[in-house]
Symmetry: C2
Subunit: 277 residues, 2 copies
């Protein structure tokens, strides 16, 4: 039985990602925070964890970048999920009878055009999309609905009252599957993620990127985070379109060693597939 | 009379920055949000605005990067401020008689070691540090204190009960002074900020940075933000250690034009001085 820690409740977007990777014989652990997901892996309570790392509209989940550095877990896989919001209520509910909607503030904001068309519905923020569906079910709130993934309707025996109510249909989130032992879920990694600290000399970030450019390795993402206690110094998180065992990556890393004061490989994995939610 | 729009109330860190740059004959406009500061400049309600752009521990104020691109205003100057938190209360107050503390969640979090030593004080979050001092004064709350800059004590005739209560003494924020017409506050600019969108080809960000490295221009900051509606594409915000009129910058920009699909100069200004708060 594989134990997978996710942020949020069963039926959430994190759960959809977990099920896509571990379809059989899994136990989902619901963690209230992202930090708890990393803790679950550190303590061995879970073998794997699922954390959102970037949304196509909102940008990076910066706290999770910090957690990748703080904890020793590795990136085992990535998954791209098409985020589709739905209005979930009790079977037989009519939109005209709904007077309250519960959801995470982000899901609420992303569905504002739909909600604006139903001004009688009062918006109440919660910590979690799927948790809102479960709360409505458990408290028997027949006048209420939640904005959540359609998986929640199936899991909690509720009904999709309106499908795909999000304003921006091009809404995607990249998730990472993290693991304690860093064992990749594939033997054909073609992406790698690492964090570096460039030496404190002019042009040092350029020299770091040059190591990869000289080897023809494409970077798909660069993210910077402050070094706490060392004012205006940065960690740079780089995603490479190559597996760590590729000879060009090995050559690049050898040269990189000359221009960084710190580097850590966060994982090498297969380029993620796009899933529907 | 120069009108300056700041986020927050008089006495806030933004106000300290405003006063440092425009010491005489200024009118401070208190804006509830950063977006309102940009709106004030757009509408001409204010000639200048002050916005935080990065903190040495928390990283970038990403919403403000987005606003720099959304609005036509330019960066006229930068200021670095040493962030010092103080416990402000009525004159004559004793720490033992204080049962409530009001402040912005960030100031509260940054003072947690101090607050932990005074468990009798209930923590109540507000939108603004200086606004909390004003509220305590106006409502005559003699049992309460606020965490705020010391300037608030002077402005609202209150008392610094404890000086420098922040946990991390190396706490700095970089502020930008933005202006409608983009007129620099100096005739000797030695820094420039621009936003680019690299062409959608492999290694294009590296090629952009190469334009500056080839001319010996140092980059002090690189920040990425998603392009809305164009999934996994990014705007890159670059800070250069050179004024826009420098010949090497002009050469770099000419080469940059070949590898970007969009570029916009956000401002050229003098490297900011460090202020105490």
């Amino acid at each position: 039985m594989v134990k997978i820690s996710i942020q949020g409740a069963r039926g959430s977007f994190h759960d959809i990602v977990a099920r896509s990777y571990f379809p059989d014989e899994t136990e989902i652990i619901e963690s209230p925070t992202y930090q708890q997901v990393f803790e679950d892996i550190k303590k061995g309570t879970a073998q794997y964890g699922v954390v959102a790392i970037e949304n196509s509209s909102y940008g990076s989940f910066l706290d999770n970048y910090d957690l990748l550095l703080k904890y020793d877990s590795s990136i085992a896989a990535e998954v791209y999920l098409h985020i589709v919001h739905n209005l979930i209520a009790f079977p037989g509910a009519d939109i005209k009878s709904i007077t309250e909607v519960y959801s995470h503030p982000t899901a609420m904001a992303e569905s504002h055009h739909f909600l604006d068309q139903h001004p009688q519905i009062k918006r109440i923020e919660t910590d979690d999309t799927a948790g809102a569906v479960r709360m409505i079910k458990e408290q028997n709130l027949h006048h209420a609905a939640a904005i959540a993934p359609k998986l929640t309707a199936e899991l909690y025996r509720m009904h999709v009252l309106s499908r795909d109510i999000g304003t921006n249909k091009k809404n995607y989130t990249r998730f990472l599957i993290i693991a304690r032992d860093g064992a990749p879920l594939t033997d054909k990694p073609n992406k790698s993620s690492l964090v570096i600290r460039a030496k404190n000399i002019p042009g040092s970030l350029f020299l770091c990127l040059k190591c990869f450019a000289d080897e023809g390795i494409n970077l798909t993402k660069i993210e910077s985070r402050p070094v706490i206690g060392d004012v205006w110094q940065y960690y740079f998180y780089l995603d490479l379109e190559a597996g760590i065992d590729a000879p060009e990556v090995q050559r690049a890393l050898k040269n990189l060693g000359k221009v960084v004061s710190m580097e850590r490989m966060l994982g090498s994995y297969e380029k993620g597939k796009m899933l529907e939610s």
